[in-house]
């Protein structure tokens, strides 16, 4: 065993982000001092990023079973049953820290990583979604990050030729230095061609394909698990540069290898590169892998085993084929201008063995590296403590004057960063390639045709950090509910979700509390809405110079539409009836209104009745299935008035005519709650007059409240409020072209 004569000092252990007790576990596992290569491997595998050592016990609360689940958590991506022969693979992942340091390459490589997670399963990626968080759009840092992140995502996804069909973009000060870049990929796979990241067959060759290994991102995994401070920004090793063309070749080659039956097991080299891919594959197969570092294709001279094992160079895959089929593998790769290099073999002894120049430089049992049930695995069992700030978090309604300028408020809100149009972002993404995008970005969810099948899928990514900050449980639950609702309003039945959990430092018990509660909320919502979790990603240590970000769980939802009945969010025709499904409550807390108009980040977060939510969503789906709903839009940020405005002004981006509306509402709750409050489980729908009664029947059957509130037509949005309690009325009467202009310019000018 060689150790490059490097002595393992306390200093070195600390540099590897290993705690003292963790190092003791290493000594127990090895019964000797580790070599530097071994220390590197432990450090990478036990980093939060790879090990989920803080989150695993909590994640167990999430429901993962259901009739649609074909592959639950544990693989590179989850898979659901779509049709008799077809599965849908999907997964979301974060690339927050790399993007904060180097926005273009960080975001681009983020797309690359999640694409590989999906095609590694044997699936062809068909869609990408992105969920982005930045600080104030006017800040210097946001101006540095936002345009480059968007360009990076565009650069990668467009080049590989996977449409980016949806996403969300949110601005809050807490993300100022620690932006969030979460990317989700969806793919289709023939069920009989599903592949897993498993090593099998003693003696089978371990084959390396894709880009050569450089010194990029060494320690990337442990870096992603450390807080971002000015000091350790210096510590980063060279940035990973994205090569989407290589990815495209790798994608086509991998799928062709799979079609030809040449893959036994396969995994992309993501975080912790060769280390995690080989260890995880060996662990799943309960076998060992022996690697010969000298064989690994290297881009730079003088790279040693330590560097090779820990490099995070992009666009690389590790696969196992059957012994004797190496030539066939090589032939496929050659067609795509790539090489296959045998760098090791599957062995019986369940160890990861690394050889360099004929010498063994690492020899570690696989289980304690990767199996969280192993007695020496450094699982953290923590308990959260309710954060102090939550004690005094709710507004006193009496301090908020009832406004008498509701039209000004609507105008301000429609142009505010979190509500304004994001077309300058999504038009940089090729969202049409593959000719399946039936609903373009700019509606509640993207609707994608699965060619050759009687199937459409609808998908949306959603999360509300502010809600989760103010009420972790509700925030988690609402993230699931809203994602499902966005899918339902297109006519799809939500069937499963993937989640990306962006939080601060989990070693802080108050942060851990946020995490636990948010997961509980998500778990309850996912159970009641029957959308189990197929996998996801945890991103901790999202802390900038002003402390932790808002806890930000992001949900990526996938739903199915059998047949072709689907709707979009904007008004279709004049003279249609506008209906409100659900009921508005006196809820102002956590709203965009409070933030934008009153400068307040205060609760309470709107209540969420998950049973009711489920009924509401069922109602809308039934209506769409019955073919009587012409448009449907859920009410979210900005409340009822903003949602109505959006119904009036979003047609144009979809190539249709914007249509005004005339609304009349009688109510006795506060006018600002009524128009701008963010009560959950509400949807604006339109039907033609003749279908009104049928729609009412459907609502009654599902025991939900349906109220006629107006009709479509004209070129203005007119809202008349008859406020019974105070015996007075207020009016909004504004040209929709004016609304449209303000909405179009709020954010687009910053991109």
């Amino acid at each position: 065993m060689t150790g490059y004569n490097i002595k393992i000092t306390d200093e070195i252990i600390k540099e590897h982000n290993l705690k003292k007790d963790e190092y003791e576990l290493i000594l127990k596992i090895l019964n000797r001092t580790p070599t530097i290569v071994e220390l590197g491997i432990f450090s990478a595998m036990w980093s939060e990023h790879c090990s989920y050592k803080h989150s695993k016990p909590v994640l167990k609360k999430l429901p993962t079973k259901g009739k649609y689940i074909l592959q639950g958590p544990g693989e590179n991506a989850g898979i659901i049953h779509a049709t008799k022969n077809l599965g849908i693979a999907f997964k979301i992942e974060s690339h927050n820290h790399p993007s904060a340091v180097e926005p273009f390459q960080g975001a681009a490589t983020g797309v690359g990583g999640i694409l590989r997670d999906v095609f590694t399963m044997g699936a062809r990626p068909i869609a990408v979604l992105d969920s982005l968080r930045f600080g104030n759009p006017e800040s210097k840092n946001t101006q540095r990050l936002l345009p480059s992140v968007v360009k990076g995502i565009a650069f990668y996804g467009n080049c590989v030729g996977i449409p980016t069909v949806g996403g969300e973009t949110v601005f809050e000060d807490c993300y100022e230095t620690n932006c969030l870049v979460n990317v989700m990929t969806i793919g289709t796979v023939e069920k009989k061609k599903i592949k897993k990241g498993i090593a099998k067959g003693i003696g089978n060759p371990v084959i390396y394909i894709g880009a050569a290994t450089g010194r990029d991102g060494i320690h990337g995994a442990s870096f992603a698990s450390a807080e971002l401070t000015a000091e350790n920004q210096e510590r980063r090793s060279s940035v990973q540069v994205a090569d989407p063309f290589m990815e495209k070749l790798l994608l086509e080659a991998t799928l062709e290898l799979n079609d030809k039956g040449l893959i036994v097991g396969i995994q992309d080299m993501g975080a912790a590169g060769l280390t995690s891919s080989s260890v995880e594959m060996a662990n799943r197969g309960k076998v060992g892998i022996e690697l010969n570092i000298d064989k690994v294709p290297k881009r730079e001279t003088g790279m040693n085993a330590y560097e090779v094992m820990l490099s995070e160079s992009q666009e690389r895959m590790l696969m196992i084929t059957e012994k004797g089929k190496e030539k066939k593998v090589e032939k496929v790769l050659k067609k795509w201008g790539l090489h296959a290099v045998t760098i090791g073999k599957v062995i019986k002894k369940p160890y990861i063995i690394v050889k360099e120049k004929g010498k063994v430089v690492a020899e570690i049992p696989v289980a304690p590296l990767a199996d969280s049930n192993h007695k020496f695995f450094p699982l953290k069992r923590q308990k959260g403590i309710k954060p102090k700030y939550l004690e005094n978090i709710n507004i006193d309604y009496n301090l908020i004057p009832i406004p008498n300028n509701i039209e000004d408020i609507l105008i301000k809100l429609i142009g505010s960063p979190n509500i304004a149009c994001k077309s300058e972002i999504w038009q940089q993404y090729d969202h049409m390639v593959r000719t399946n995008t039936w609903t373009l970005p700019g509606s509640d969810s993207a609707v994608i045709k699965i060619k050759g099948e009687n199937l459409l899928i609808a998908t949306s990514v959603d999360g509300n950090g502010r809600y989760t900050y103010l009420d972790p449980y509700r925030g988690g639950a609402i993230a699931v509910a809203e994602a499902a609702r966005n899918v339902s309003v297109s006519g799809a039945t939500p069937v499963a979700l993937t989640n990306c959990l962006n939080f601060g430092n989990p070693e802080d018990p108050e942060i851990f509390y946020q995490f636990e509660k948010a997961i509980e909320g998500m778990a309850d919502a996912a159970k009641i809405l029957k959308t189990p979790v197929t996998g996801g990603n945890v991103s901790f240590y999202n802390e900038g110079k002003d402390g932790a970000i808002y806890p930000t769980p992001i949900v990526g939802m996938v739903g199915f539409i059998k047949g072709t009945r689907y709707v979009k969010q904007y008004f279709k025709d004049s003279e249609d009836v506008i209906l409100l499904l659900g009921q508005t409550k006196d809820e102002l807390g956590a709203s965009e209104y409070l933030k934008e108009i009153h400068g307040l980040i205060k609760g309470p977060v709107p209540e969420i009745d998950l049973k009711l939510e489920s009924q509401i969503q069922k109602t809308i789906r039934n209506g769409i299935k019955a073919g009587i709903i012409k448009s449907a839009h859920d009410i979210s940020k900005g409340g009822l008035a903003v949602a109505l405005a959006e119904c009036c002004i979003t047609a144009k981006l979809h190539g249709e005519k914007n249509i005004g509306a005339f609304i009349e509402i009688q109510s006795d709750i506060r006018i600002d709650s009524l128009l701008f409050g963010e009560t959950q489980s509400r949807i604006i729908i339109t039907t033609s007059k003749k279908d009104l009664n049928t729609m009412k029947k459907i609502a009654a059957q599902n025991k939900v409240v349906l109220t006629e509130i107006g009709k479509t037509g004209g070129d203005r949005l007119i809202i008349n409020i008859d406020w019974a309690a105070k015996k007075c009325s207020q009016k909004i009467n504004i040209k929709i072209t004016d609304l449209e202009n303000i909405w179009m310019n709020g954010v687009n000018k910053y991109v």
Binding site: A211, D216, V241, A242, M246, R299
Partner: protein, 80 residues
Amino acid sequence: MAHAKIIVTLKDGVLDPQGKTVKFALEKMGYKNIEDVRIGKYIEIEIKNNNREKLEKEIDEICDKLLANPNIEKYKFSIE
């Protein structure tokens, strides 16, 4: 009037997908003797300035702030 000629290249060790692909293309075109190709940017700035020293500082600043991405690129320049 002065002319600044700036060359921005990738730092050593940083992957250069463009260079790699161009090398591949050249090999396919029959140029078998190519060892390496690296692609960078070339920028010419025409600038009004009489004070040579100030000018150097200014160009250096411009490179550092805008033209080169310090995470992955380095630069050099000459002024005529």
